[in-house]
């Protein structure tokens, strides 16, 4: 939270009123002097303040009760969730990050959404091998120990599934940012730049494309231009400081910053160099964007500028009534940093610039806040991000005008939450 000197005059005035209320409350019961949401000194003392509580007197767990720590039992709602009717089989399925339960820019490892095509592979790191073959001077195989002896780097990147928000092309569908936007996470990865490994094998001048392949039962493959591979792609073995989680590709995954998550092949076992794309299933049948005229866009890899208000939202209604309200959300762009986020509380008629907080890193989630005083009337909340290339997040109608409604992938349209006078929220569209 900002220092008091950063807070608007409205807040300063309220703080003064609070002091006055307490002072007067001691004399006159504090009636009617403070705004909605404030608690003044009451006739009945609050037992949570005046009485000794269990946690004040009974010793809790000692050290090592949980050698690997877990969240508080009071946070059992902060979990990934799936929507069972979206996919045929839970071995080839998805779940969603609970964005409305998080703050800052980093996604905790256990809450990073999952997308598997053949279940979670269980690989002992000593048994894992990474092969480089194809148009190279020397085909090579690396062990995990080999990989850790290359120069390591750490970078924070978002990973967004190309199908994130894909259910929303025809209209408001799923009620909650976890479900509409939860196929994104943001992690600090540690690993090795791919260019160091490719240099060891020696890429032929004819080598223009890279095919990463997974060791899981789906043997996931995608075609990646060699220029991207040599630029910022990495093979990584750590996320947020610890080893990759099994569901995120342990012991080794590819990182393709700013590009759609399906390309970040997990359980990475092979890198093939070729002179043309392979046109495999995940880049023809899937991850191509069908347009209204029946043709499809392919190689639409970059995740364009996007944002979402995470709170308030359908899973995180306003519970405190009118008064000071903190609106927050996330913004990101596969083209680099986010320069600005605007928010509207009236469905896009008027816009205010939100406050970007925390690190502003290229191809990473950005956190924004907008504090305002809610008068208790209905709201239509929207956010609109602008990235360093001056690309502006489009409205859903603008997207549809260009791409139709059959695209499934790459929906970065502006989301609207309808806040009712009781504080509850719903996924809607305004036009």
């Amino acid at each position: 939270m900002a220092d008091s000197s950063d807070i608007s005059p409205v807040s300063s005035a309220r703080r003064i009123a609070l002091k006055a209320g307490l002072k007067l409350g001691a004399l006159a019961g504090g009636a009617g002097l403070v705004g909605a949401g404030q608690v003044s000194a009451a006739a009945t003392p609050d037992p949570l303040i005046t009485e000794v509580q269990d946690w004040n007197r009974y010793l809790g767990d000692g050290v090592d009760a949980n050698p690997y720590g877990k969240p508080s039992v009071h946070e059992s709602d902060a979990v990934r969730r799936t929507v069972s009717w979206l996919t045929a089989d839970n071995k080839s399925s998805i779940n969603f990050t609970p964005l409305h339960k998080l703050d800052g820019i980093i996604t905790p490892n256990g809450l990073c959404f999952e997308r598997h095509h053949g279940g979670v592979a269980d690989i002992a790191p000593g048994d894992h091998r990474l092969m480089i073959n194809g148009l190279v001077e020397t085909p090579l195989v690396f062990t995990m120990e080999d990989l850790e002896r290359f120069p390591r780097e750490s970078h924070v990147y978002f990973l967004e599934c190309a199908a994130n928000s894909g259910m929303e092309w025809r209209g408001a569908q799923l009620n909650g940012c976890q479900f509409t936007h939860g196929m994104v996470h943001n992690v600090m990865y540690t690993g090795v730049k791919l260019k160091h490994l490719l240099a060891e094998a020696g890429v032929s001048p004819r080598g223009k494309w890279l095919l990463p392949e997974g060791a899981d039962p789906s043997h996931m493959t995608r075609s990646i231009p060699i220029d991207k591979a040599m630029d910022d792609c990495m093979v990584v073995f750590r996320m947020n400081g610890e080893a990759l989680r099994p569901e995120q590709g342990y012991p080794l995954r590819l990182v393709v910053p700013g590009w759609e998550g399906n390309m970040w092949v997990k359980w990475l076992r092979r890198l093939e160099i070729g002179d043309q794309p392979w046109h495999h299933r995940e880049e023809t049948s899937k991850y191509t964007d069908l347009l209204a005229d029946g043709t499809a866009r392919r190689f639409t890899w970059t995740m364009d500028v996007k944002s979402i208000i995470t709170n308030p939202s359908p899973q995180s209604p306003i519970r405190h009534g009118r008064g000071r309200t903190v609106l927050t959300g996330l913004a990101w762009s596969g083209h680099g940093t986010v320069k600005r986020v605007d928010v509207s509380i009236d469905g896009g008629r008027n816009w205010s610039t939100a406050r970007l907080d925390g690190p502003t890193l290229a191809k990473s989630l950005h956190r924004f806040y907008y504090e305002f005083d809610w008068d208790g009337s209905e709201l239509f909340l929207q956010s609109r991000a602008i990235d360093e290339q001056r690309q502006v997040q489009p409205t859903k109608d603008a997207l549809r005008a260009e791409r139709g409604v059959n695209s499934i992938y790459h929906n970065n349209g502006i989301q609207t939450w309808h806040i009712r006078p009781d504080g509850s929220a719903e996924n809607v569209e305004v036009s």
Partner: protein
């Protein structure tokens, strides 16, 4: 003197930009045992062949439970494999192998690497050729007796071959 010596030593270690000499070279036999990727030129297609006649049996045994006896996706959410031609520009596009996939090589590559979902890499190359032929026959792309092999598979022209436009600027 000592300080100077230490700083020189540190500099020389940090300057190491040459190859770390890591990784083990492998021979072509080891590579080919795992290199299952096939591009539209089909140069890496294996030996073997099959027709829709034998493919019908493979399909019934290994595929129909999820994709339906008519390969139209069955009762569940498995992909429809055939049909859908003429639907791509409609309100309800049906994207199947036949109506949408631009290359027949992709059908062989994906079936071999990832299908059946619960037992990938268990079909023989002969079975993959055969079941590919069966689906292409069901979709009206080839005749029932047309033999698919490393040469003929790459020559199959899929109906939606020209239905894609590349966005990546280098393409």
């Amino acid at each position: 003197m000592l300080m100077i010596a230490i700083s020189l030593y540190v500099t020389s270690v940090q300057a190491a930009e040459v190859s770390p000499g890591l990784g083990q070279s492998i021979d072509s036999e080891e590579v080919s045992s795992v290199d299952i990727s096939i591009d539209p030129r089909g140069e890496n297609l294996p030996a073997g062949s099959g027709t829709a006649v034998s493919g019908a049996t493979v399909y019934a045994d290994k595929c129909a439970a999820c994709h339906g006896t008519d390969a139209n996706g069955g009762d569940g959410l498995a992909d429809s494999l055939v049909g859908g031609i003429g639907t791509l520009a409609t309100e309800k596009p049906v994207k199947t192998v036949i109506s949408y996939w631009p290359y027949a090589t992709t059908l062989f590559d994906y079936t071999r690497r990832a299908m059946p979902l619960d037992a990938p890499m268990t079909l023989t190359d002969e079975e993959v050729y055969a079941v590919s032929a069966y689906l292409l026959f069901l979709g009206g792309v080839i005749e029932e007796t047309h033999e698919l092999n490393a040469q003929s598979l790459r020559e199959v022209q899929m109906p939606n071959r020209d239905g894609f436009q590349s966005v990546w600027p280098d393409m």
